[in-house]
């Protein structure tokens, strides 16, 4: 038993995240039943940066949320860094996972100060003792790290974080998610709600942090440009399945028109399937 376990892990030495045959149906056995994930399997390698793209309702956000633990999946397994986290509740997974949300207000507590928010992030997934959260030493460390964002926020550590702009808050959320090195960084369309300038700024910051900290990251995005520029792998989803996977050299060559073409192919195949089904129905039933 133990031998079997160790052999599974050694085979996938480089795999950090291993999603095995994951399925999820929302509102099962009702007219609104949605098969959001249909047997998705995905291996994410150590220190890789993967983007998941797809149309609305393709299941890309559902996949990300399944890994984050927002819900517990119906079927399949999720292994992360050697832990079977399939049944772990959301807050327990934070020990391994750092997250940035689409909503810039979701990742921080608006009425609390920058320093307090950062103090919470400094103990992500760890024990929280009854000792003062903001010691002098901690504040010094915070000032340095926040200064590295080059947003001149280091003098505003005692302001409520709600007084900052969406872009600033998202940059801080990114800093918070990566303060303790996460085994996996989940980015859920984290620049989608920002103005173009802030979006570019946060995207650049994302690239820098992932590169310098050598993080493993999984990003859901709507932006074709972002998926071509930032990551080193693109996974395309459609109707709860993975339909394309650009890796390595193939990813290096892929451009926005190629992705558009791939989308069209998927759609055409679907239209074709629908019309064939209709024909078959007309003629034989």
């Amino acid at each position: 038993m133990a031998q079997e376990k160790s052999s599974t892990f050694s085979r996938e030495e480089k795999t950090v995240l291993d999603i095995q045959n994951l399925s999820q149906t929302f509102f099962p056995k009702t007219p609104n039943s949605v098969q959001a994930l249909q047997g998705v399997s995905l291996h994410i390698e150590k220190e890789s940066f993967t983007a998941i793209i797809g149309t609305n309702g393709s299941g890309k956000s559902t996949l990300l949320n399944a890994v984050a633990g927002t819900f517990l999946s119906d079927q399949g397994r999720i292994l992360l860094d050697g832990h079977d986290i399939t049944r772990w509740p959301e807050h327990r997974r934070a020990f391994l996972i750092g997250r940035v949300f689409q909503n810039p207000f979701a990742g921080t507590a608006a009425e609390m100060t920058l320093a307090e928010n950062l103090a919470i992030a400094m103990r992500r997934g760890q024990k929280r003792p009854l000792s003062t959260a903001l010691s002098k030493k901690v504040r010094q460390e915070m000032t340095e790290k926040v200064a590295s964002l080059k947003m001149s926020l280091e003098n505003r550590l005692d302001n409520p974080i709600g007084t900052l702009s969406g872009g600033q808050r998202q940059a801080l959320t990114l800093l918070m998610a990566t303060w303790l090195r996460p085994r996996l960084l989940l980015l859920d369309e984290h620049t989608a709600a920002l103005d173009p300038k802030s979006a570019a700024q946060v995207a650049e910051l994302t690239r820098q942090i992932i590169r310098s900290e050598r993080l493993t990251a999984l990003m859901v995005t709507h932006s074709m440009q972002q998926s071509v520029e930032l990551p080193d792998r693109i996974v395309m989803m459609h109707k709860g399945k993975i339909v394309e996977d650009y890796e390595g050299e193939r990813k290096g060559r892929v451009r926005i028109p190629d992705l558009m073409a791939a989308f069209d192919r998927v759609r055409q195949r679907e239209l074709f399937d629908a019309s064939v089904a209709e024909m078959v129905a007309m003629q034989y039933i």
Partner: protein, 312 residues
């Protein structure tokens, strides 16, 4: 002078209740009506223990434990069984009414001739001043009143200080964030439900402590004494926030204590001027209503007065 000392003492005792409400209402955004039951629970437990010859300190600890238990039940009802906040509180408050009657055995327990927390302080005062009624600013004060005042002051200051230090710890910071943004604390590895339950336990423990002191001060424990207490707590918080405006945790705690004292002083004055005591809760409710519908309303009133002063 005795009137003022009385209002201050009452204010300090009820400040503990306000601090409890501050934790639930402001920190974790939980409108917790359990308060109306747990203050009586605190009074009931301490009254029964005192007349049965237990020491005041034991009674105090038992009250705190009782309040914490009541808060825990409300928290579990809300988080585990997904019952809405208000309803969880109402259920526990209603249940506590029977529990309190059971604990007391009757609806009212007079506390005459029992040893209370302030007795040692009173003896110490007597030996210090050599009289049973020292003079302050030319006014003769009952030694007992002064003793109760000092005891309440000590407990209130101690609790306020501990609460302040606690909310600034790693744990306390996460607890505050759990109320503001449950999604965020989950992503940071904290179970917001645990934090809600714990906050309600702490909150109601403070409320029960307030009830325990209140029974000793008033000289009786009564099953009806909790009615409307939560709204009084809210009124005190609102006054406190208007007094100190925005600031850190320490400022908020100080504000709530001062707000409660001011509120009691206003009530004492209003009653002195002949306001019908029966109208007290109506007036309080209207006041809280006005403060809730007018965001920053109390602040505006204060600003108006300040502006008026500047112009004059």
């Amino acid at each position: 002078m005795n009137l003022i000392i009385g209002a201050f003492t009452m204010g300090l005792i009820l400040a503990l209740l306000s601090l409890g409400t501050l934790i639930s209402f402001r920190m974790i955004r939980f409108t917790d009506i359990t308060v109306d039951g747990s203050i009586t629970l605190g009074a009931a437990i301490s009254a029964v223990m005192l007349i049965n010859g237990h020491g005041p300190l034991t009674a105090l600890l038992a009250s705190i434990a009782g309040g914490a238990l009541a808060g825990t039940v409300t928290g579990v009802l809300h988080t585990r069984f997904k019952i809405p906040q208000i309803l969880s509180g109402i259920l526990v408050m209603t249940a506590l009414y029977s529990v309190n009657l059971r604990v007391m055995g009757r609806s009212n327990i007079p506390l005459l001739d029992v040893c209370t927390l302030s007795d040692p302080v009173e003896k110490w005062l007597q030996t210090l001043t050599g009289t049973s009624g020292p003079f302050i600013l030319g006014w003769k004060i009952h030694g007992q009143d002064l003793a109760v005042f000092l005891t309440s002051l000590g407990i209130c200051a101690g609790v306020g200080f501990l609460l302040w230090r606690f909310l600034l710890t790693h744990f306390g910071t996460a607890l505050r964030a759990a109320g503001h943004n449950p999604q965020m604390v989950k992503a940071q590895g904290v179970n917001p439900n645990t934090m809600v339950i714990l906050s309600l336990a702490i909150s109601n423990a403070l409320v029960a402590l307030s009830g325990c002191l209140l029974a000793q001060y008033q000289g009786f424990g009564d099953v009806q004494m909790g009615i409307g207490m939560m709204v009084w707590g809210l009124a005190s918080i609102i006054i406190g926030e208007a007094l100190v405006r925005r600031g850190g945790i320490g400022v908020a705690i100080t504000g709530v204590i001062l707000g409660t004292i001011l509120f009691r002083l206003l009530i004492a004055i209003a009653l002195r001027w002949g306001m019908n005591p029966n109208d007290l809760k109506l007036v309080t409710a209207i006041f809280v209503f006005l403060a809730l519908v007018a965001p920053n309303g109390t602040g505006k009133i204060i600003h108006f007065f300040q502006g008026g002063k500047n112009r004059a």
